[in-house]
Symmetry: C2
Subunit: 243 residues, 2 copies
């Protein structure tokens, strides 16, 4: 059987990968992925054949990985974080019916929501939402409605892609929507370059978050109404103390 | 410095642990946790001292771990999945101010939302919510409101703790709330014993899900309106095809 692994690498360094992910990469003859992610794993497997494509060519990358597998190579498509959260597992499975001989295995990894949360404390300890602010693939009205619903549900919220050069001001707009439902003092946080060189993080209020200028390598966390700043850590209680 | 690691093990077997998690357990002199989770890691570290407590004694377990660290032992508190998603990172950080000499490090792992999603396909490829149906710690009205908001936001939804002996019928009530906003044909799925012996999974409609009897070792996934059943896999498109 021809085999294609879709592998989540976790946030960055090899220490964040699962044993299952390392095994999948070891078995693969070809590693496919976005150039930046391939560079993360290349030092571990310097002898492997690689196929890289730039950021915006996701579908071409997926098709090429499936074609290589179809030709009989064992292939691993690498993704940062988890393969199934804004990763390549989706588009590959959507194309799968065209490649019926290729067995596809999704290997999960630690997503930025989880690794970023660990840096800040425990902001996602209770029910939470994950929302991407990128409107490259999703109409802004859909994103706005989800922010509104997440705010009304008093979820902790993790925001991916808080901004980019073309989307300056999106984080401020998101904060505006949330401020209609939550206190300006709501405990928030952000983590930049999670698990990589130059990791930085900050715990701050929703009001302060609105004024921050963050880049696309930053993951943002917005607390629920119950979220606390405990000695500089962002913690959402689950409610054990009420038992 | 006295050190306490709060470590997410992932779904079960050692192959799902990150290198960082294995290193934390290796460094620890005492492993603390719920009996079932300690049994998962004990074969890897048969020589280590362990401290286990039953399911419901979470706060006692956390306090004991902090006390052991305070006394100078390097301690690892183990959690299944991710330490920060319905895990022990929250209660430990809430007690942390009483133990100022203990340095606490949260080590994230692959949560059931991510590992279960990988088994089913890619149901969480776009924005999603994670909601626990357990009302042991959360009033049912809060859970119901979150289900309602998640439905209105057209999020993919991952449900933890879909039922238990005392909470039969909760999953059906949750499905009822979602059916007010989503088609009975909405693609759903569940995974039982993720990454452990006896793993089972099923892709089914929301209408069918309503009639299922599932246990507390099962994680449930409810698709967004765009989620598809592609050759038996549950896939939520992100929208690359619209570019």
């Amino acid at each position: 059987m021809k085999h294609l692994y879709v592998v989540g690498l976790g946030p960055g360094g090899a220490e964040f990968m699962t044993g299952q992910a390392i095994q999948a990469l070891s078995r693969a003859e070809v590693l496919c992925g976005y150039t930046v992610y391939i560079d993360l794993v290349r030092p571990l497997f310097p002898e492997k054949e690689v196929f890289t494509t730039p950021m915006t060519q996701e579908l071409e990358r997926c098709r090429r990985a499936l074609e290589l597998a179809q030709q009989g190579k064992t292939v691993a498509m690498v993704c940062s974080g988890d393969a199934g959260v804004y990763g390549m597992a989706g588009p590959i499975l959507q194309m799968a019916p065209e490649f019926p001989d290729v067995e596809i295995e999704v290997v999960s990894g630690v997503s930025a929501a989880l690794s970023g949360a660990a840096v800040l404390g425990a902001p996602l300890m209770h029910d939470f939402c994950v929302i991407s602010l990128s409107d490259l693939l999703t109409p802004w009205e859909v994103i706005e409605n989800r922010l509104e619903c997440a705010a009304k549900g008093d979820f902790s919220i993790c925001l991916y892609n808080p901004s980019s050069k073309k989307r300056a001001g999106y984080l401020a707009r998101a904060c505006e929507i949330l401020l209609a439902h939550r206190s300006p003092q709501t405990v928030c946080g952000w983590v930049k370059n999670i698990g990589r060189e130059g990791q930085e993080s900050k715990v701050l209020s929703l009001e302060e978050l609105k004024g921050e200028t963050l880049d696309m390598f930053t993951t943002v966390f917005i607390g629920a109404s119950s979220t606390q700043d405990i000695c500089g850590r962002m913690v959402t209680p689950r409610g054990y103390e009420r038992k």
